[in-house]
Amino acid sequence: MAITEDAPPGADLDRPAPPRSRLSSPRVLVLVLLLAVLAQSPIRGLLGAPAMQSWMTVFVAVTVQALPFLVLGVLLSAAIAVFVPASFFARALPRRPALAVPVAGVAGAVLPGCECASVPVAGALVRRGVTPAAALAFLLSAPAINPVVLTATAVAFPGHPEMVLARFAASLLVACAMGWLWQRRGRTDWLRPPAHGAHEGAGKGEAFWDAVRHDVMHAGGFLVLGATAAATLKAAVPADWLRTAAGTPVVSVLALAVLAVLLSICSEADAFVAASLTQFSPTAKLVFLVVGPMIDLKLFAMQAGTFGRAFALRFAPATFALAVTGAVLTGTVLL
């Protein structure tokens, strides 16, 4: 799959199209699909082992579960990019970034869904001129503090409303802290310049569908990458090391933080998994609930795709450290 570009970089647009290389991408696509159909039974045979089968089931499950939310986020982000004028955000958000951060963080509560939806929306906000610090606060808070996720948390921890409160407070706190940190320390050259081509000369409908196509192909590819990693780690990490880790407080907090990153569970479902980790302290469970929606393998791949690798490599460790700290602090006060 080496030759996938449309045209060589230097090709002039007004010149008649250069003679196509023989392996244009539609042909590669047809070839791949044909080969896959023809080699169907040997492939099935290869994947027949139980370990491979459960790997595949988890891989398909993560992808299928996340795609509807990705599509929702992509539709929203395309609508923001095409139909909402940039002046709207200038009026809606406070001019001072230090104030825009908490406002954007709280605004995260209106995006129902999980983290797959928030990445493309945050990308569209940045392209729409929203200060990155505020867009990042939105990116981090939206998957954790929306009503769908908080309701799921309340259902998973019946009789413990303080868990819902702690999750809300810790997630908002960490999201705002990351926004402010970005505002003080972040550099715009870490962010990849907006990848969308300008839409001049195109109607709104065309621009909308072009944005949808681009984001699905782009973020979808990274989603698949993340799903691959998550399925592999779920198959490879032995489950009984958790039992050993639950014994000491510091280790148990770190263990659940790392587990949240590795498992990459959708934020609508992670509360149920946290509730089932009965050996762990409530604070450790809170860490799991705060870290997971902010940074995991799937999200890291998608952030690297949307904002660039230089950004993701700096943003992810800082988010992880702040999320663990914020969750432990909140847990000490509230739980």
Binding site: V64, V71, G205, V224, S264
Partner: protein, 237 residues
């Protein structure tokens, strides 16, 4: 990938989601409640494919405004779930995952009234929690009928398992009942069984997470086809 190829991938992906949502295939991977979302997103993807192809046709011959930037190679990865879903359609999680994961049984807040019937039809989760936490008192000594799939641990001990699911198969967790008594001579892992039996006070611990695994004294078994929804989704409600 150029735009025609992208339109084709979007179309196939949308069609695969529609296919999974229209049949019971999706129940192997995600919770039943996601169905409308799957169908809607499949329709959106197909619309995006049609729109892409249509605008590309209209644009044919005219230069594209701005620069045409090709999509990154990572888009090709979208073919993987597509092929996995259409060609292979991996089965729902079974005994392999069940034995690697600890039982997810948790103490219930109350026991509902027993359903009518003799033997009493109970889910794996319902029997396990009544047996493990209520010492079987809420069963009133009545025989029960439970359906699940078989899993055999390394020593060959049989368990009746149902995977409980909250959102998708990545978060599925097993609830296990250990079987004793009259078992069929040949036990095949992953085979679905309807087991009739009575409460046994014996209790063992799951080697993975030390969770409780109650026993069931089996009096009769009957092989049954896999249910429409292989997962127990009662925790969703």
């Amino acid at each position: 990938m150029n735009r025609q190829a992208q339109a084709a991938v979007l179309f196939l992906l949308g069609a695969a989601l529609l296919h999974a949502g229209a049949t019971d295939l999706y129940l192997r991977y995600v919770k039943a409640g996601l169905r409308p979302f799957l169908l809607a997103s499949g329709a959106v993807l197909i619309a995006a494919a049609v729109a892409t192809a249509w605008y590309e046709r209209r644009r044919a011959g005219r230069p594209r405004p701005g620069h045409a930037h090709p999509e990154p190679r990572v888009s090709w990865l979208l073919l993987l779930p597509l092929l996995a879903l259409i060609l292979i359609a991996p089965p729902a999680l079974g005994s392999y995952s069940a034995l690697r994961t600890g039982t997810a049984l948790q103490k219930p807040y109350a026991y509902g009234p027993l359903p009518a019937g003799d033997p009493v039809p109970l889910s794996v989760v319902d029997y396990a929690s009544r047996a493990a936490y209520g010492h079987g008192r809420s069963l009133h000594g009545r025989p029960v009928r439970v359906t699940g799939f078989l899993a055999l641990d390394r020593a060959g001990r049989p368990y009746l398992v149902r995977m409980a699911l909250n959102c998708c198969a990545a978060d599925a967790q097993p609830v296990k009942i250990a079987l004793t008594g009259e078992l069929p001579p040949v036990l095949r892992p992953d085979a679905w069984l309807e087991v009739t039996g009575t409460y046994s006070p014996r209790l063992t611990r799951d080697p993975v997470n030390n969770g409780p695994v109650p026993y069931l004294r089996v009096t009769a078994t009957r092989p049954v086809p896999a249910p429409r929804d292989p997962y127990d989704e009662t925790w969703n409600t």
